[in-house]
């Protein structure tokens, strides 16, 4: 039934097309269609014979021709050798990549470390115990010393210890820009004997002090005295024997001279705590003196709104 039906549907062109594919490559329905057509079409049967002969001739010709040649007997060894070379070069490539990656990482870490060291914030608090060359009272007692009561809590940290690297400006500070007419002194890094090096130190080999960053002294509200004067703790180091005296004057406007508090008990040489009392904000020249030795610096003093 179905074969009769397909007999009428398969054209000569379609039958030729199927013949070219080879009968073993046809789907079952296609084979049925072709067989039905061939059974009733002598021309297509003849054509089928030609095609089959061509296919046989092709297969035979190729088989005869190509069988003349054989692969080299050495091919296995050569493939193995090439694979080994490939594996070695891949391993070498990986090793090179790893070494280069490690080197880049190392350079990166060193560079970051160096960068971090360069831009590190200056410490706000004392970092090490100072070696005092003279006996000093207990820290608790310093605020009770004559003349130092005005420094309140600020006195303790200064006198307990330590090289006083100057604080960084408080985040809430709104410092006035330092005018060009005020020749502020920047620290020269000259470190007092026996202290850890710090870029905030300033000295001349006989006298030393520690200066605020950029020559700018920020006075927090609690250091503004009832009479309007501005007080700030200040540390000094003496390389020569004798008592320290401190004087100062305002450079950019008329003002009362600087006042200073220098507590006793620090001996004739070495560290000497003290306090500066600026009558006003502005550009101040401060001079410390021991015997004939003096150390002078200029700083800009300004009140801040924060702590």
């Amino acid at each position: 039934m179905s074969s009769t039906k397909v007999e009428h549907t398969l054209s000569h062109e379609q039958a030729c097309y199927y013949l070219h594919l080879g009968q073993d490559q046809l789907a079952a329905t296609e084979q049925v269609e072709l067989d039905s057509h061939l059974a009733n079409c002598p021309d297509c049967r003849r054509y089928a014979g030609e095609v089959a002969a061509l296919q046989t001739r092709l297969a035979e010709a190729m088989r005869l021709y190509y069988k003349t040649y054989q692969p080299s007997p050495d091919i296995n060894r050569q493939v193995q050798a090439r694979l080994r070379r490939k594996i070695r070069s891949r391993q070498l490539w990986r090793l090179t990549n790893s070494v280069m990656a490690a080197a880049v990482l190392l350079i990166l870490v060193v560079a970051l470390g160096w960068l971090a060291w360069r831009i590190r914030p200056l410490p706000n608090t004392p970092v090490a115990n100072i070696t005092l060359t003279a006996p000093v009272p207990a820290a608790d007692d310093w605020s009770a010393l004559p003349g130092l009561a005005i420094f309140g809590d600020q006195v303790g940290p200064l006198l307990t210890g330590t090289p006083p690297p100057r604080p960084s400006p408080a985040p809430t500070a709104t410092p006035n820009p330092i005018p060009a007419s005020c020749p502020v002194t920047l620290p020269n890094g000259n470190t007092p004997p026996g202290e850890q090096p710090s870029p905030t130190y300033h000295g001349n080999g006989l006298l030393w002090t520690a200066l605020w960053p950029d020559g700018l002294v920020l006075i927090p509200p609690q250091m503004v005295q009832p009479d309007g004067t501005l007080s700030m703790k200040w540390g000094w180091w003496r390389g020569v024997n004798g008592p320290l005296t401190i004087t100062g004057r305002r450079l950019d406007a008329p003002a009362s001279p600087l006042d200073a508090v220098i507590p006793d008990g620090y001996g004739d040489t070495g560290f000497q705590a003290g306090g500066l009392i600026f009558p006003t904000e502005g550009c101040w020249e401060v001079t410390g003196q021991v015997g004939d030795s003096t150390l002078t610096f200029v700083t800009w003093v300004v009140k801040t709104s924060g702590n």
Binding site: Y17, H20, L21, R57, S72, N76, Q78, K86
Partner: protein, 182 residues
Amino acid sequence: MMTVDTMQLLSRCQQGDSLAIEALVRSYTPLVYRLALSILDDPAEADEAAQDALVAALSKLDSFRGQAKFTTWLYTITLNVCRGRLRKRHAQARLVGVLQSLFRFFDPIEPPPEQTTLRQEQDAALWQAINALDDHRREAVILRYYHELTLPEIGQVLGVSERTIRTWLHTAHEQMRRMLEP
């Protein structure tokens, strides 16, 4: 798709087992070489191409997913290697042709005498008809009648649909039949 033996062999090759690699190369060299020879028609170059194809296949065994037969996958790699060599050869032939036309003192390119004689003995007209086919149709004919691949397998190796292979084989037959008509 694959026998357990083939899967085990491939797995061991992936792990770098040199004995397994040797076994695989020994098993598949004839097949790869025959395909390379039938495409390149140059025994020495077929030898090199077979090496290239085997090294390439072993180097990327992990990309063989097992969806097709391993031999089909290997045929595809071999065919790609051969096509690369044919492109290079055609480019060189074009260059030589240009040089010949410029200087006129090169010998024309001819197949080796022994090869020519052999073909003449066998069936020069038939080979002429085969070589007159374009690359796609010639590859389809070779894969069908020499390597005896099925139509779907030829489609996989050549990267085209079975319908396209049917059309290629049909037109190839027609063309060859016309050429071979007395």
